[in-house]
Symmetry: C2
Amino acid sequence: MSEIKFTYFNAKALGEVTRLLLKYAGIDFIDDRFPDEDWPKIKPNMPFGQVPALTVDGKTTNQSVAIARFAAKQAKHQSKVGSNDWEDLEIDAIVDTINDFRIKIQQYHYEPDAAIKEARKGPLFQETIPFYVKKFEEIAKKNNGYLAVGKLTWADFFFTGTIEYLNHMARVNLLEKCPNLQKVVQNVSSIPAVKAWLDVRPKTED
Amino acid sequence: MSEIKFTYFNAKALGEVTRLLLKYAGIDFIDDRFPDEDWPKIKPNMPFGQVPALTVDGKTTNQSVAIARFAAKQAKHQSKVGSNDWEDLEIDAIVDTINDFRIKIQQYHYEPDAAIKEARKGPLFQETIPFYVKKFEEIAKKNNGYLAVGKLTWADFFFTGTIEYLNHMARVNLLEKCPNLQKVVQNVSSIPAVKAWLDVRPKTED
């Protein structure tokens, strides 16, 4: 593959999963970060006005989950997709479920109306978060420290690359009482290529 | 593959894409529909309390988009996924974008608070819908009546299987001034196996 450019804010948020996967895959890419104030002039040139965006050989596409799946396939030495269609379905389903969970926390975090935000707080923290975290923890336990098909897949990278953003938005450590989900993060973070990236990546709040 | 069961409400909504793809693939499946009033007793047994759900050989998973992608891969005579990783990314990205569009219309349609619903109406109908429909139409034109990679893919099935639900929720014909998107729907609907299904499927409102 020729030049790969990954365009996003200077943030982990929806971008870090793909960065982790490209680093794991050992693929050189331009980590194209722009300051928040440049967004209005960048937005009209992005597909559907969205980032993250991936550009390969001059073609650009949006959609963070689709881009992460593509990045996962590029690790040719040990691709982190499934071994068959059903395994890929299991991986895709848990990834989309993590993404649903992210959207629910985000809808609370970015709500500009203080009264609406306050009204969402109870249901989010007393129902939605405990429900999802318990299910994810059960799945990680059943899969022995992984989130799908009993082995390391890009679903684990997806979770690891997203959890700091979720913790940041929820202002709690969501994994505090979840030893098996902590193991998921540890399994990804301890991979040498990933660890090397975690040590040198730009420090950002979200 | 042994027994396949697809569980959903008696509705097109988030289920019809997978039904179209399985019919296209010529795969026998149990079209497991339940009446709305049974949902409270079914929900606790579904993964993450969600449908549609797909059960294959006794294993069940949720997530409509992931299930549709799996169904697309099963058409072994002429699989409707991409020819390479980049093509799959293009298909996945447009599918996720159609899904984003669906969620935006849904957030309006199902809003229980009349004042909030009314406040969302203007932005949805004057900004969001025109923006997305124009972009989709441009993409369909560029791809000659398809939504990705210049040929029939499961993205076209995804659009065709979703558009009636979108029209139902928006209470307009979103494709009225979109000849190229009409062509997308026509390209899928005229496939004999699909047409045969459209003729016999249960008639439902959404």
